[in-house]
Symmetry: C2
Subunit: 428 residues, 2 copies
């Protein structure tokens, strides 16, 4: 009996220890002063860590947090989500608006190098780059999940993440907060904004100082891909004849074609032949092999070598036991696409008074600006500022048009850019 | 009396000597083995010279002749004309399809360097790069001209030039001959082809072995600029709203607007604001200062330094006494635009059995592919080959569509290219 009692107490203590260990594992946060591949100390403040969400904190979401290089006490706090779903937030950090980028050297088997950028948004705002949904980048689950992640589920989880993150970083609770991202996060961010907004009116959690949101070439409606064909026509990828036939035969529906409409399918094959050798998200580049150093997507290969290096993962404080290979974009991630359109969320958020900035690089055929323009038009806001060139250093970087409700919704496009935000700044 | 007689004889001899001197001066031709700025002997055969045309050979046309690097005895002989009117044929030689190009170093006051190219058309054909009309590049007139050069006059002069040139290079009379060029030469080449064709049926001069002609982004009709606006719309430079208003208010006429149509003029101002900061002939580049080394047109400045260098002009055997400053494009050249449309010439040449290849880079807004497509369509040839990607090394270089009469007229477009032929090959 005494033995049993001692055993029972020991078991209880063990469980308690495991729990403490797990909680420690769960909510880690480390300041990273050096990163392998980058020479010298980092010229900005980087913290990486996990936040556990879900009933038992079984979902461990990994983030990179970079403090504003200007005035972190007053500058906005931004959450940046990458698309996919399933693309690591490193995509934002290294290839879009972050303070680091890959050095595009030919890979020689050693660790790829990182460089500082001059255009980072962290010059004026603090940014949380978040790996979500679970299974993306370095995020993982401690148990097998009952339900696949979904658009609406992610909005809830990210909200929970933010509450917990702010709970642990209370010095940022008063900073103006913005949700942001590109591509598929166009399905998440508007729902997240609504979720945060609702949460702010509910009991017991401190409110998030939400001001608005920002989206670049956002996926907004599942029929958005129908705009690829008019876009390809405008950009001279297909002939007038093919375009006219497609419109007539497929009646504007190019994504979900009735299998009996063989004429339409045949025309779509013709269309594919004309476009299947270009990089969809940045049309000025030809499709090429990831392994080819002068190929645009070679940088992605380098980032994979970098993120899978043991010294890098140690520096980032990755939980090695829980994470297998790092994949930049996990395309087959289990996922439930349960939001059909973000437009109702945009409407609600606008009515609720949140500001939004929607920008769209016009060299992106994955989420072409024509579709973005169409859904913004469907909101029927009045135009307060004409379409005009968007100048950077006296050179055209894109086109800006402003449509304004009482809440100043903006739409602009970056002519030099692809789908990824930072490309907008590439003027030369 | 005797004195007078002797004086008269002397005067006659002097005139004769002057005439001999002038003829010598007129029809010079020198083999150039070395060019300042290029290391080592030239890896191809270059001849430069003047041919005098006109009644008294008062018009001295300068040419660069480069022998085919393959089999000059059998390879085609090409005449290449640059546009403008008033642009030196060096534009073709150094920036389009020639075997040399400018090395894009920052100018340090010394002679700019030249490099070999890998894509030169001289690898498979001999090319005469001709400075025309008179006043262009190194071409000049020995007397003040009674009439300004004109489109139809140039067709005649160039024909005369060719006859004389072939008279002095009889080893090339049996080679297949093609006339070619880009931009404004679209107004000259079709008329020249008709002129040569007619001449071949007339007495006394040996016929020219004319096979066909080739044109890149050719100016064809003076209303061709009207296609710039639909093109700018397709390429996302102007908004749908502005485009619809322009169509409605200006009724498709954007070049010669009735000054009373103030609404149209206002819309055109809006259009200009959206497009006046891009390089018209290669829209992916922003407008920038010639003096800026990373500006696309900086190469033009280097070529001006090069062509005005004394050692270069000596090597090219330029008649220093007759030529002032070399200007790459003499925009204000006196000129009479007397051909309104090249379309009738295209029709005639096609009926006469000459082959033509019309290509059009779709990144050129100066002579947009839409206009070229429109006039080719107006010829009502049947389509024998669908619009399809034009592949170079398994990558899309442009789009090809073929329209064929009995004479195989072809139309294709280079997606990566601007108005200048060689740009079509820039895949990466």
């Amino acid at each position: 009996m005494a033995k049993e009692y001692v055993f029972c107490v020991l078991k209880f203590l063990l469980l308690l220890l495991q729990l403490v260990f797990l909680i420690h594992e769960a909510d880690s946060a480390s300041v990273v002063k050096f990163l392998p591949g980058f020479e010298g100390p980092l010229p900005f403040e980087l913290e990486t860590g996990y936040i556990g969400v879900g009933e038992e904190e079984e979902v461990q979401l990994f983030y990179y947090f970079i403090k504003s290089e200007r005035n972190p006490k007053e500058d906005p706090l931004l959450l940046w989500l990458s698309g996919g779903p399933g693309c690591s937030s490193i995509s934002g950090l290294l290839f879009e608006n972050g303070p680091l980028t890959m050095k595009l050297d030919v890979y020689n088997g050693t660790l790829p190098s990182l460089l500082s950028t001059t255009y980072s948004w962290t010059k004026i705002s603090s940014i949380i780059f978040l790996d979500q949904p679970v299974g993306t980048g370095f995020s993982y689950s401690r148990t097998s999940l009952d339900n696949k992640p979904s658009d609406s589920g992610e909005a809830k989880r990210i909200h929970e993440f933010l509450q917990k993150w702010l709970g642990k970083h209370q010095e940022f609770t008063s900073n103006p907060f913005y949700a942001a991202g590109d591509s598929y996060s166009g399905m998440i961010v508007p729902a997240l904004v609504q979720e945060i907004s609702r949460g702010n009116y509910q009991c017991c959690n401190p409110p998030i100082n939400l001001q608005g949101y920002m989206l670049g070439n956002p996926v907004t409606e599942h029929n958005g891909v129908n705009y690829r064909i008019p876009y390809a026509h405008g950009m001279a990828f297909i002939s007038d004849e093919l375009y006219e036939s497609l419109k007539r035969v497929c009646k504007g529906e190019y994504a979900n074609v009735d299998s009996r409409n063989t004429e339409c399918l045949k025309l779509l094959e013709e269309y594919n032949k004309c476009t299947d050798r270009i990089t969809l998200f940045i049309i000025q580049y030809p499709l090429c092999e990831t392994e080819t150093p002068n190929c645009y997507i070679y940088r992605y290969l380098l980032s994979t070598y970098w993120a899978n290096d043991k010294t890098v993962r140690k520096a980032l404080q990755i939980n090695e036991e829980s994470i297998g290979e790092w994949i930049r974009c996990y395309r087959d991630i289990p996922y439930n696409h349960d939001i059909v359109s973000s437009v109702p969320y945009h409407k609600n958020n606008s009515i609720s008074g949140y500001r939004s900035l929607i920008f769209s690089g016009d060299h992106d055929m994955a989420v072409p600006y024509l579709g973005t323009q169409a859904w913004i038009r469907s909101l029927n806001y009045s135009i307060v500022d004409d379409w005009r060139p968007w100048m950077i250093k006296d050179q055209i970087a894109g086109k800006v048009g402003t449509r304004q409700s009482i809440n100043q919704r903006k739409a602009l496009s970056c002519s030099k850019g692809g789908s990824m935000a930072n490309l907008c700044r590439r003027v030369n």
